[in-house]
């Protein structure tokens, strides 16, 4: 009996009932016998040398477990890409939230009192706070030149185009930091002792990153480190690398005290101390012909990485590759750098460098169009990538791409042309100026270049004698729907009812390394492995002569029971194999950067109140082609949530820096939009199945953060004539621009 397909249907979330009824257990819901609580004492200056640490009277210090850098038995660095970030500062302080001392005690309230009684005496050194200061190199705070990583992309012969160009148009763009603001703050519990090794439970995206990070810290064999993901309340990239540091801290306290230790950040600590989106500066110099063709693009893209390298090189890579967008240009040069400053390290945030460079590009495309006297849509149409053309990294587009069609549909759904005409007519008589603008963009799914090949991810699928099937992967459910989608994929591959599928809790002792939960790769890359492993499991049963080619769930159950009786265990694994034709040159930064791109056109309609210079998004059309849509409700939720975060990025979320420290680390003053500030977000999908994704799916998670900011600022310019090239666009900035008379 053939079951109804689940892919393409909005089946119920696997863990939805537990979350809705409050039964889901997050790390702070867990308690262990004899457990201590742990807190972090941080530096208070952005840069300097530690002279002395003293403990003032006021608490019974004898009851506390105290860990300093000197207590670390292994290597005091967070293993990720480079080894520059210590778990605890030894001598040098490089940002004002650097962990220096860890404290543990049974009474978590007394810990707060104790935390204030630890004095860190320092000799300050001159700090560096901006990209410009870092590049000027007056103070060298990292390596030889304050540069974590630099890339150079060369396509064609850019130097030859300037003389031939009809116009050369230049401008600079800037984006700010952004806090992820997942609902659940970072938290971790550790049990650690010489007999059992180290086990941590916590909120995280990437259990195997934490595993890798704890190995050198404790200098233990692999099997002595175990990492278990607890139910996780959102990540957005903010729990990609930071949990490694926190896991290390909890484990160090647990090791020294011999007792379980729980560390849970409050919102204020989570906001000021953990990673945020990299601020960026982009300079575009663009050569165009009279007829509106791009003939040369020179792009300088710089990001502020904060005090340590963390993931900056990878964020920079994605931002660099996306910086020329969904356009064909024969001659391109991108020069990019990630630089060091004395602020807490910036890290992964949904979009991962692409929202920064695409903001610059999509604002610049409107700018160039205006300079040429072309409509923004017409100028883009003349330059869109399509099948047979190449991207900035010379990646040949092999799949059907119809950006002009997507643009037509998005403009139609937003009534763009009629509104543009109406606003132009009505704005002069009104104190509220209305405008409409859009952005066209792409987002590559999966790791960049040869990243997926290097990761070589593995997924397992196992079955019980009752025919219950379980997916084994380290890919985490963090609210985005991993459990549901993996179950859908495996159910369809095995032709079983969705209810018969489950997903194992990620635990490095039991699940294979399917790679990190990042880069819009969970469905497109890991989902494909789930599909392959499920098919392999079915083929085992068919191969063993226990299952016919067409079968019912009951026949499947009997086959599982028979197989397990005979062979003891029923499990199949699948490992990543690169699709054919992918060639990437990491030296020259040329070749096939991503297996597949998702494509989108976002249209924003805004009103700008010239009394207060506040901008409100009135309507938002998000139209995208993401391959096959696996679960319409989850997919629409991803887009709506991403657009909401994008609206926050564009108009509200302003990290106020004061001497390298976030001064507005509270939700009262770091403003994320509420439902009253958001537009109706209208989501549309067009489907063009990708040959190497499960059921044709591509990446979706990060895409929706790339488009809102440029679309909104293009709309603001349409409304007011003000050419703001910086986000967040606060009313204060817009008023200042209006005063300056920056009108066209």
């Amino acid at each position: 009996m053939r079951q109804t397909q689940t892919v393409g249907r909005s089946v119920q979330r696997k863990e939805g009932r537990e979350k809705l009824t409050g039964q889901a257990r997050y790390v702070d819901d867990l308690t262990f016998p004899n457990m201590l609580h742990g807190v972090t004492v941080r530096s208070s200056i952005p840069r300097g040398r530690i002279k002395k640490i003293h403990f003032e009277h006021g608490v019974p210090w004898g009851e506390f477990t105290i860990v300093k850098a000197s207590d670390i038995q292994g290597s005091n660095h967070v293993a990720l890409i480079l080894k520059d970030q210590p778990f605890l500062a030894e001598e040098l302080i490089n940002h004002c939230e650097e962990a220096v001392v860890l404290l543990a005690h049974p009474d978590k309230h007394l810990l707060e009192k104790a935390r204030k009684l630890v004095g860190i005496e320092t000799d300050p050194l001159p700090p560096v706070f901006t990209i410009e200061e870092a590049l000027a190199g007056k103070q060298i705070i990292w390596g030889a030149d304050n540069v974590f990583k630099a890339y150079r992309v060369e396509k064609g012969d850019l130097d030859s185009v300037w003389a031939k160009a009809d116009r050369v148009i230049e401008a600079e763009y800037e984006t700010g930091a952004q806090e992820q603001l997942y609902i659940e703050n970072n938290g971790m519990i550790a049990v650690a002792n010489p007999q059992d090794g180290v086990t941590v439970w916590g909120s995280m995206q990437c259990p195997y990153y934490v595993h890798k990070g704890l190995l050198p810290l404790f200098n233990l064999p692999q099997e002595k480190i175990r990492v278990i993901q607890t139910e996780t309340g959102g990540g957005f990239g903010g729990k990609e690398e930071y949990p490694t540091l926190l896991a290390g801290h909890a484990a160090l306290l647990a090791w020294k005290s011999g007792r379980p230790v729980k560390m849970i950040y409050d919102r204020a600590e989570d906001m000021v101390a953990t990673t945020k989106r990299h601020p960026s500066r982009t300079r575009h110099r663009t050569a165009v012909s009279k007829d509106g063709k791009l003939i040369g693009m020179e792009i300088e893209f710089n990001i502020d990485g904060g005090a340590y390298a963390t993931l900056s090189s990878v964020v920079l890579s994605r931002g660099t590759i996306h910086s020329a967008g969904p356009y064909f240009c024969p001659h391109v040069r991108v020069i990019s750098r990630a630089v060091a400053t004395n602020s807490p390290p910036h890290g992964a945030f949904r979009g991962f460098g692409a929202p920064q460079s695409l903001f610059a590009l999509e604002r610049h495309m409107d700018h160039v169009a205006r300079e040429l006297g072309l409509e923004p849509d017409e100028f883009r149409r003349r330059n869109f990538l399509r099948e047979g053309l190449t991207t900035a990294t010379s990646q040949l587009i092999r799949e059907k791409v119809d950006l002009s069609g997507l643009l037509d549909h998005a403009l139609e759904k937003s009534d763009y042309h009629a509104k543009r005409e109406r606003f132009a007519r009505e704005n002069p008589g009104s104190s509220v100026k209305k405008g409409i603008g859009f952005a066209t963009f792409l987002h590559g799914g999966g790791f960049t270049g040869s990243g997926e090949k290097t990761l070589a991810s593995v997924v397992g699928v196992e079955a019980t004698p009752h025919g219950q099937v379980r997916v084994l992967a380290a890919s985490t459910e963090i609210g985005q729907g991993t459990n549901t989608i993996f179950s859908q994929i495996a159910a369809d591959a095995l032709k079983l009812p969705y209810e018969q599928l489950e997903v194992a809790q990620p635990d490095t002792a039991h699940v294979p390394n399917s790679g990190p939960t990042v880069a819009s790769r969970t469905v497109m890359v890991v989902g494909k492995l789930v599909e392959t492993a499920a098919v392999a499991l079915r083929d085992l049963l068919i191969g063993a002569g226990l299952l016919p080619a067409e079968y019912s769930p009951e026949q499947f159950r009997q086959a599982c029971a028979g197989y397990i009786e005979k062979f003891g265990q029923l499990r199949a694994n699948s490992q990543y194999k690169q699709p054919p034709n992918i060639e990437w040159d990491d030296e020259k930064y040329q070749g096939d950067a991503y297996g597949a791109f998702s494509w989108a056109v976002y249209v924003a309609e805004v009103s700008v109140d010239t009394v207060t210079w506040e901008t409100h998004v009135d309507d938002f059309v998000a139209l995208q082609e993401v391959g096959r849509v696996m679960n319409p409700i989850l997919a629409a939720g991803q887009i709506e949530g991403g657009v909401a975060q994008g609206i926050g990025y564009a108009l509200y979320e302003n990290v106020v820096w004061k001497d390298g420290r976030m001064a507005n680390g509270q939700m009262t003053n770091y403003i994320m939009p509420t439902s009253m500030d958001l537009a109706s977000i209208r989501v549309f999908f067009e489907e063009n199945p990708y040959s190497y994704g499960p059921s044709g799916a591509k990446g979706i998670g990060e895409l929706p953060l790339d488009g809102p900011a440029p679309a909104i600022l293009n709309a603001v310019e349409n409304a007011t004539g003000l050419k703001v090239r910086k986000i967040p666009l606060m009313p204060e900035v817009l008023m200042q621009e209006a005063k300056r008379g920056a009108h066209v």
């Binding site: 309230h109 707060e112 009394v611 207060t612 009262t668 403003i671 009253m676 204060e732 008023m735 200042q736």
Partner: protein, 298 residues
Amino acid sequence: MRAYLPDYEMITAPSLQGALEVLARGEFRPFAGGTDLMVLFEAGKLSHHKWLSIWGLDELRGIRVEAAHIAMGALTTYSQIQRDATVQAEFPLLIEAARLTGAIAIQNRGTLGGNIVNASPAADSPPALLVYEAELELVSCVGGKIVSRWVSYRDFHTGYKSTLLKKGELLRTIRLPRTLGAEKGWVQHYRKVGTRKAQAISKICIAAAARVEGAKITDARIALGSVAPVPMRCLKTEAYLRGKDLGLAASWMGEARAVIASEISPIDDIRSNADYRRGVTQNLLEEFVKKLSSGSTR
């Protein structure tokens, strides 16, 4: 929670008199809805440690409608204000202020009296109360008796976070004269410019009322929040507006904008900056005058 709870003490009193007796000793401070104090407590920044909860004192609750006034107990919450029919009919600025304060949970717990004595220049209700020329009853316990005195709210704020309230004194009643509702021709206006549309602290807040006869402004009251160390009445601007012909507004608007800018002393802070506050204050005044010209009332 960053405060160490055992370091704090909270007591209650059985009656207003009992509470005043405790306060008279000077050791304890009053704790009403707690919506401001709990934020400080959570952040470990509540420096005073001894608190007297007055939440249970029902004699400080309720809205009484009298012939010439309405009298609100200091513990009246924003939610209660929004539900009261007389306030709705005659004091729309206060309704707006209550509606725009915090979230619903805050409106259920936060009190008008607390909003006044907390003395934040960014509070939402003070500009409305200033326009309505509120009077405050301050009570204390002297020789075992409750002693009461009335002060004009306009004089209450004496500097940043400082007020006329003496040690041992408690705000009992907020009284609003029913003038604007009774007299004809008053146009009322409230606008909070917050950091977002809800759950926001104001960058600038204006409450205003003006009486228009024909095309002439015969009286005006304008109050602002977040543009000075205290919530303020703009007396110079009011004087400037009195007698002005709305038909000629284009000719004097520039001057009116200059007058209001001269009265305020905004600063740069975490939410906004002085330039913006000055510019938008001027725009808000202009918007109010335009509303008067268009003859719309609310």
